[in-house]
């Protein structure tokens, strides 16, 4: 029976299945790390735009965050993927980057912008939670604005935002599966393909275990950072 996964998959098929899923996991991991690489600094930039003294800049970033958080990520992925063609008449094949299909770039753009919006609000909450006295002390000690931010404020912000960032990062691991909507061969897409071809649930179970292990490692790493930063209170 196809609903009895262990019965439906013999040992000959199990190892190749795991190998295929691992290659999909590799793609998921690349999406995950590239998204973090772009979204974490971008979030900081958006947070500072959101706190700008110029109302127009503030409103722009407020609108951006609102749209990113208010619409489904899958829909955003479709928009990033199709907009070059429908809006600018650029064939998608022309947008291949270093031989990599544009669908991969669209996924990274979509994920990075979406997650940057969420991260920016976390940063903003962290920045606003730092007592005004820290800025004042830095000012009278002669620090410049950028020195104040990068030496005094940001390290304290990072300590405060680790728990909410951990939540987002764990969600990101699971959200990488949304890349299947653009037929990117990440782990969930691979699992679906194998499940259809072999009429078995086994790939989903293995993929589930892999996602869980991935998240377990991510949560462990974040807990390690949190512990490393626990050397002071405040």
């Amino acid at each position: 029976m196809c609903f009895l996964p262990l019965a439906a998959v013999n040992a000959d098929k199990f190892l190749p299945m795991v190998k295929q899923l691992l290659s999909g996991l590799g793609v998921s991991a690349v999406i995950f790390f590239l998204t973090l690489l772009f979204a974490l600094p971008l979030g900081l930039l958006i947070a500072s735009g959101r706190r700008s003294k110029w109302a127009a800049v503030r409103w722009f970033f407020q609108l951006f965050i609102s749209v990113m958080r208010g619409t489904p990520l899958m829909l955003q992925l479709f928009i990033w993927y199709f907009c070059p063609f429908y809006l600018f008449d650029i064939p998608l094949s022309d947008l291949a980057f270093c031989g990599i299909e544009y669908r991969y770039s669209a996924v990274i753009i979509g994920f990075s912008l979406n997650y940057a919006a969420y991260f920016s609000e976390i940063y903003r909450a962290g920045i606003e939670a730092i007592p005004r006295g820290q800025y004042e002390a830095a000012f009278v000690l002669g620090y410049s604005k950028s020195q104040t931010f990068f030496r005094i404020i940001l390290p304290q912000v990072i300590k405060r935002i680790i728990p909410p960032v951990t939540n987002e990062v764990i969600t990101l691991v699971k959200d990488t599966s949304l890349a299947f909507s653009l037929s990117v061969l990440e782990m969930f897409t691979v699992a679906r393909q194998i499940a259809s071809a072999e009429t078995t649930m086994m790939p989903f179970i293995i993929a589930g275990v892999f996602y869980y292990i991935f998240n377990f490692l991510v949560a462990g790493f974040m807990a390690f950072i949190e512990k490393r930063l626990a050397y002071y209170k405040g």
Partner: protein
Amino acid sequence: MKLFTASNIKKSFGKNCVLRDISLEIEKGEVVSIIGPSGSGKTTFLRCAAMLETPDSGVLEYDGVTGFDNGYKIDKKSFIEARSKFGMVFQNFNLFPHFSVMRNLTDAPACVRKIPAKELELQAKGLLEKMGLGGRENAYPCELSGGQQQRVAIARALMNQPEILFFDEPTSALDPELTLEILKVIRALAAENMTMVIVTHELEFAKEVSDRIIFMADGVIVEEGRADELIDDPKNERTRAFISGFKK
């Protein structure tokens, strides 16, 4: 020799006029306390003096360097020079919690004035010894008592070798025993001819440490005089009422 001059300082927050034409001169080596009821404007004045608030009008000069002149643009060099003339000690210490005691003292001069780390560490160790905090270089602020944190804050302010130190209610977050620790430190600084302006609610403390006391109410200087004279024999009715309120 005048180290700090404030002339005709005015400051309002919205419709609330907090400082009405405050003028004050501080001589080198003088310890001046500013007392007054809550809302009298004493902390706002000190914050203006420390450039943490911008006055609406008036002039602020620090050892001959203009830091504020009726809202006219001060060039960046003068602004930075004026700022380097003073240090500030806050009510809540405002130490940087992620830095050790040593780094709280050395980071700003290393980063701002580019002084070599070894030189700074020697200076910081000397200051910490003087503050009774020898051996606590590697502690973090959260591991120190309030009195110790305030002494670290004073040492941090002294690292920049300011001409004048501003204190904003330095003992109001401390119990009487810890207040004594700070009193001792301020006395020691006064003995070294350090110029200090202290905003405080504590009359005995002000009397103990100051050469001169200024009584402020409703944004104006009501009375000023020698510390013992003003506390023991105030001339103005308003000052008398304030001080007798405390003595009851």
